[in-house]
Symmetry: C2
Subunit: 399 residues, 2 copies
Amino acid sequence: MISYETSQNMISLLPVGAIRSERVFLTAALGRVLAEDIVAQEDYPTHPTSAMDGYAMIHTDFAEHKALAILGDNPAGADEVAQVESGICIKTFTGSLMPLGSDTLIPIENVTVNDGLIMIDKPVPAGFAVRPVGESYKAGEILIARGTTIGFAEIGVMAGINQVMVSVAQRPRVSIIATGSEILDIGQTQHHAGQIRSSNNYTLEALVNQLGGEAIGMGIVGDDKQGIMERFDEALRSSDIVVSTGGVSVGDYDFVKHIVPKLGAEVIFKGVNIKPGQHVMVAQRGSKFIVSLPGFAYSSTVTFILYVAPLMARMMGCANPYEPIEATLKVPFAKRSNKSEFTACNLHFEDGRYWVDFEGKKAGSSAILTNLLGNAALMICGEEDGDLEAGTLVRVIKL
Amino acid sequence: MISYETSQNMISLLPVGAIRSERVFLTAALGRVLAEDIVAQEDYPTHPTSAMDGYAMIHTDFAEHKALAILGDNPAGADEVAQVESGICIKTFTGSLMPLGSDTLIPIENVTVNDGLIMIDKPVPAGFAVRPVGESYKAGEILIARGTTIGFAEIGVMAGINQVMVSVAQRPRVSIIATGSEILDIGQTQHHAGQIRSSNNYTLEALVNQLGGEAIGMGIVGDDKQGIMERFDEALRSSDIVVSTGGVSVGDYDFVKHIVPKLGAEVIFKGVNIKPGQHVMVAQRGSKFIVSLPGFAYSSTVTFILYVAPLMARMMGCANPYEPIEATLKVPFAKRSNKSEFTACNLHFEDGRYWVDFEGKKAGSSAILTNLLGNAALMICGEEDGDLEAGTLVRVIKL
């Protein structure tokens, strides 16, 4: 068995190929990963622009005139702008271009208006309330770098430069296959107590969607070699990554581990010294990947986060959202094995720090998916770690 | 002008009515807010279940027998289970019900198989590798509380209990209207330099969608009283919250502030001692709300986060994702006003703490939306705060 660190290194070296992109409408780009740099084509604003409502004037007039004649109005969006000369001002509104010749805006609140004249009650510094050319950005500036996940601010900035169509990374297509004759799909009638309700395929499909991929639900296939073989083949033809659950352990009905090599896939690794999920297997066929996860609900979810999420992030050219962060243990922790352990914990942010505890988390088998509800995170203990004292800085994966 | 704290109190007291729910398919519930408690109907597992591959046996047989006869196989999902008696074991796989009479599972790795018999090489404690009834949860336990935003673990747990349909809070419908004759929609031809490209409506629609609402894009309406009146009326008939940008300042073309009261809406507050966004106005007509934001891109985005996001969260019965958290200032900060200030900053997580700096952030007008790109957050300074030293604990809103 290889170590967790080695397995992560191997994932980071898998040849995922160049980013594949597609062009989508701006409003459809929310949550997608940018596949091009967004570069400013011109300075913004392109002209000096008023930042308030007031009167555009020449700053030296503060010294030379007690009153200025109002030449007219300059509403925002106006086409023509009159020229300001000494002794003259133009009423100018937020967002309007500054009239030619003016250099300063005196706010409405700072003047008294009387019979077409303004009397200056409180002068302002030169250039006051004028947005200079290029205040927001300059031509040639990279506004948003490729690899950025597009949020509301990115959408707004791209709208502001009239970026109607946007190049984004294609969603990696990820097929999910649950194996096991005991598994019953939701909605199906249970005939006897030995059947258990499917949860893995729904958990993992939700994860694929949250991570920006396109989940292909391949349903459940029983412990039947030919059936599993056919379903994997269909999945490989349909998707970039095939994720399966179950069938990788040591039992007589664990067919997946035998079938994957028969599909012409090269096994990258099988077995990692981790808990849960030591039987995880990663294989490659051409440009496609097979990630075979254990069948227990907690194990399959954790190993998906450890092995499929970084692969998807690499295909999209973005950061893996499940990179570990630091937190402080609130209670002692008893390590149970000499493996790298990923333990469900609560993560709270208090007094400027993240804190880890295990209140309400159940010890027991790797079947307990409810341990991942709420503000759950995964605490990472290394192979070499022993028991940990309260106050220890630990690494956690925020879910 | 009221204080920021008073304005937030008033938002938290607005009568938003009871949560309105709808039933959706489980797979469509990802990202929605749960509107019912999810309660376990039975213990899970319902029967003692094998957690590994091995041989089901009676623990006292370790003392009484050197070898046990293998009665047969008990694959996962099997309907009938034979009875284990003293001197007999049944091969049992991960996820199978434990055969009647058995209490312990001896793993495959701990025995030698020979001619239909197992020889025990390494005994295990009583109950080993048996998932007891109710290991995951007990009947009557609340698994997921209403108000929870549904993530992958919630989807998986609900699939596991065959929750095909789920009650979720309806998405609040939020209309977005941008006002201003200078504003040009994306894709439209610019005729002169005084026209500026729309960004507010796209930024705010993205925010509505991210927050789980349903955005209704009402486009741009020029500075025309009748036109604004009609668009607001249409928006009020279409949505739960009407959000407008522009037209609330002190200028001659700021019609929104006059029109809202004429629509029969009661102004809850107009003007808050904050920077940016001091002219923000909140009004109510029946069960609907109007939130009129300033026109500048940075101001409208910040005030949306401060006033619309908590209102939407209350309508869905969930926590506001923009609750402030604590961070440490990495550099000194010069306060510019006696208002509550919301300053764009970078937020980094390092050495177990969030740190705030302003590298790359541009000082200038409230028009600079690019300040919200990247790992941006809003640093909050109170009215009473003065300049802040490096190392000060500050509150920030993570975006």
